[in-house]
Subunit: 519 residues, 2 copies
């Protein structure tokens, strides 16, 4: 599928056979596959520190309580023996109950989309990367910043499908606000299930949307109800309304998903200094309490329901109150979250976040730091792994491409370094001697195709060649790359019957008026 | 010293008292101090792997040999019992001899410049950061790329002196080619010793330059010869001419420095696939052999001479042969080098390298990766920590500022995370409850000044405010910052007698014709 794109692509064409993509894209990218951790996680807390944070989380759950703004949830928790306020939404859970429920959750599981080759493992020492989610705006170098819309939403889905380092679509990469709110979920999810065959995510925004989402995933996969409920086919993500509160629409969606064996990520929005204590230990304790409260509820409803411990703790700029990401505090918070998630045997969800207004140096160091935090914390899922800008207010098409390059770097980094006799290369060193060069040696020639990671976005030409070719910045190269990828996009094959059933469902639900918009 | 620089600086003025600089700069930067590692090093090799690389290095030294292009060096090594070819430069060293010599070197030491407050520890779980060194070109956003010159050299010295995260000046941050080659070292080092009071580095480019350099450091510090030789006051860096060769000018400088108790860094230039095997294990084995060969010589000359194991192993782009930096291979090479340096009880030298032609996203991810490699390898000295661009062919003034921001990030990251009762913040969580906000809580108010790292270069304003203020990219902000810092630069105080002696020496040596230029 590789189309000629000038000198660089041409020089690399030879690589295509040995180390290239699977034909779904025009860039010479890495093959489909998940990152598998080789380094141990980085652990800022000692064992005692982990237990202190755990103890504080338990005290919050037992003594301070969490508000569940959902009557059914409170009724179930009361039935389970929790202390539920008679006149208010607060629920207090004993630590024994919480730990018994949490222990029911699997430490890893698989989510299988309509193309089983794109099934992903959540946990088990692996990472899965998702697109930016829920950005209200979209931007690119040529078109500037604009309100999210259907066309750009489709463009982002095409990029998600084409880049092998992207393993799942998180919600809507950008909000298609030109689709009517009552039927947006139908059209948007139909697009996601058609333009992509990877794992997708319906939002927990009220009963209708999540039920429609599950049904659409089932129909697109050509599954019976029994097959759908037998193992995870999709997932949803809920955020607590920090501090200490779970809202109705998200709880409702989470409970419906768990009942049908689908995965639920619980990610408290605990910005330290704003919605959580300014101290990292306090913020992570609160994050843990909020996450475990929902996990306990879901495990009571369906023992063994796949759940993920979500971490979004970062800090705010104390001068302006604006959220900050990719900070030293964010890196430590992700690593601490990893420690807590392992304490409970739950996979970790993290994010590739930044607060920059442009895909420039700041965006890149904040993203590099965020990814380092997520990966050194052994995140099982990295949300917003590609395309997030402005603290999530914009999905940037160039940033999407830049992030894919970072994801490939880290995936390649997590490979063992062999030290066998052939790797130690004593014969080659002897043969080349003090006056030779290794480029021509047999040892080099036998390995040069696959010896090193080959980036698709780096420009390593010398200055003069780079200048003569137009002195393109990384952002400008990324602009060309996403346009090329979209131009070369091919929709993944889909069973005609499944497609028909999916669109028939969409039309039926559209005629019924879709979902209420007053959630 | 803080001058008003608009809203951001004004908002931050209040911070100045508690967490700001020591008055040498106009940016609200961190205080002077070295990074102290809190995370353990990342170790890609197991114990057996380290021993295999060590064994290969020993076999290179014993069996293949290293060329020493310096008669005195060969004579000394023959005297020490090494096998020296009668008709050639090759020296073979027994592993027992090498290990006995290497064991003489200290695992850490201090270098004290003319201002003892700017003394730096090399090793002992700390990192020291240096400027870009030896770039033939310089660039900035307004003036573009130009040949290195005296004025820009001085500008870079002022930045090095002003930024507290810069601990030493590496050689000439940019080559002042408009200074005559025979006296360049006199003028350039006089500048370095006057415009800065931090540790500086004379080049090992023949006998005269290194002797002049040591004498100038001695005079600028107002030291007797005995005081100068009693402990390290400066250092030099030598590169082997890989594969397997140490050249005359560098060996000569290194031996002269070691004889007077000054520090020597030995950094083989082992690009995997070009000057070293394409396999990382082989490249690191060769790097180790080349480094230890010189360290053994220096320890034979002066037992206990401060030496540093230098690592510069990276890979080349196998398509073009161009050097690549900040790659997955570079990160692993730095970590493996750290393992080898600890195997020998030597401090590690690494670099903050990238191969980008502009201070953009690529430059930033490559630098972030390089810094991660260096720091996760527990480098004691990070060369080229600020300002390096284009694989070292250009010193970029904006990149200098961007890198200082990265260095501050990582320094702050390496701090323990406390988990005491006040950090767990249960009282604050209880007080704020499910409907409150932590910004106004007493727990937050008591901590907000110093709770979080505060970057000087990040722009965290919302998009609209950022756009209205001119939509500056990080590069544009960095341009303003270096101009402000240079405008606000104040030369460090210098003893009048020492200054007089320094310049009298320069004039005497100038009248003598300086140093030969045919090295």
């Amino acid at each position: 599928m590789a189309r000629a794109r000038g000198g660089r692509a041409a020089r690399r064409a030879e690589r295509a056979e040995s180390d290239a993509d699977d034909g779904t894209s025009v860039v010479q990218q890495s093959r489909w596959g998940q990152l598998r951790y080789t380094d141990p996680p980085t652990e800022p807390l000692d064992r005692e520190g982990v237990e202190r944070v755990h103890g504080a989380a338990m005290e919050i759950l037992e003594d301070i309580g969490i508000d569940f703004l959902h009557e059914d949830a409170r009724r179930l928790l009361a039935e389970a023996g929790c202390s539920v306020d008679a006149d208010g939404p607060t629920v207090r859970m004993g630590r024994d109950f919480v730990m018994e429920m949490v222990a029911r959750a699997p430490s890893s599981f698989t989510i299988t989309p309509r193309n089983p080759d794109h099934a992903i493992t959540i946990g088990d020492g692996m990472a899965a990367f998702g697109t930016v989610a829920s950005a209200p705006n979209v931007s690119d170098l040529a078109g500037g910043r604009r309100t999210g819309n259907h066309a750009d939403y489709q463009t982002l889905l095409k990029l998600a499908q084409s880049f092998n380092c992207i393993h799942f679509v998180s919600g809507y990469p950008v909000e298609p606000v030109d689709l009517h709110a009552s039927t947006r979920h139908l059209d948007a999810l139909a697009d996601a299930l058609t333009l992509s065959d990877k794992v997708i995510q319906p939002y927990s925004l009220g009963s209708e949307r999540i039920e429609d989402g599950m049904e659409m995933v089932r129909l697109a996969g050509g599954l019976t109800h029994e097959e759908f409920e037998a193992s995870p086919r999709t997932f949803t993500n809920i955020n607590s309304s920090s501090p200490l509160k779970h809202d109705w629409p998200m709880l409702d969606g989470a409970m419906r998903m768990a009942r049908r064996g689908q995965a639920v990520l619980v990610a408290p929005f605990t910005l330290a200094g704003a919605m959580a204590p300014i101290t990292l230990a306090g913020a992570i304790a609160q994050q843990t309490a909020e996450a475990l409260a929902a996990v306990a509820l879901l495990q009571y409803i369906r023992p063994g329901a796949p759940c993920v411990y979500g971490a979004f703790t970062s800090n705010v700029d104390m001068q302006s109150g604006a959220p900050a990401f990719g900070t030293p505090e964010y890196m430590r918070a992700m690593q601490m979250s990893g420690q807590m998630s392992r304490r409970y045997g739950l996979p970790l969800r993290s994010s590739n976040a930044n607060a920059s207004n442009a895909p420039d140096a700041q965006a890149t160091w904040e993203s590099s730091n965020s990814l380092f935090g997520a990966l050194s914390g052994h995140a099982a899922m990295v949300f917003h792994a590609a395309g997030w800008l402005e603290g999530g207010l914009t999905a940037s098409l160039e940033k999407f491409v830049i992030d894919c390059e970072l994801l490939q770097h880290w995936t390649h980094y997590h490979q063992p370094v062999p030290t066998g006799p052939e790797d130690l290369a004593l014969d080659a060193i002897r043969e080349v001697g003090p006056n030779g060069h290794f480029l021509g040696s047999e040892h080099t020639q036998a390995r040069f195709r696959n010896a090193f990671y080959s980036p698709f976005l780096s420009d390593w030409r010398n200055y003069e060649a780079w200048e003569q070719a137009g002195a393109e910045t990384t952002e400008q190269r990324a602009h060309r790359v996403w346009q090329d990828v979209v131009a070369g996009y091919m929709p993944p094959p889909m069973d005609a019957g499944a497609s028909e059933a999916l669109y028939a469902f969409v039309e039926r639900r559209r005629s019924e008026g879709g979902a209420p918009t007053d959630f």
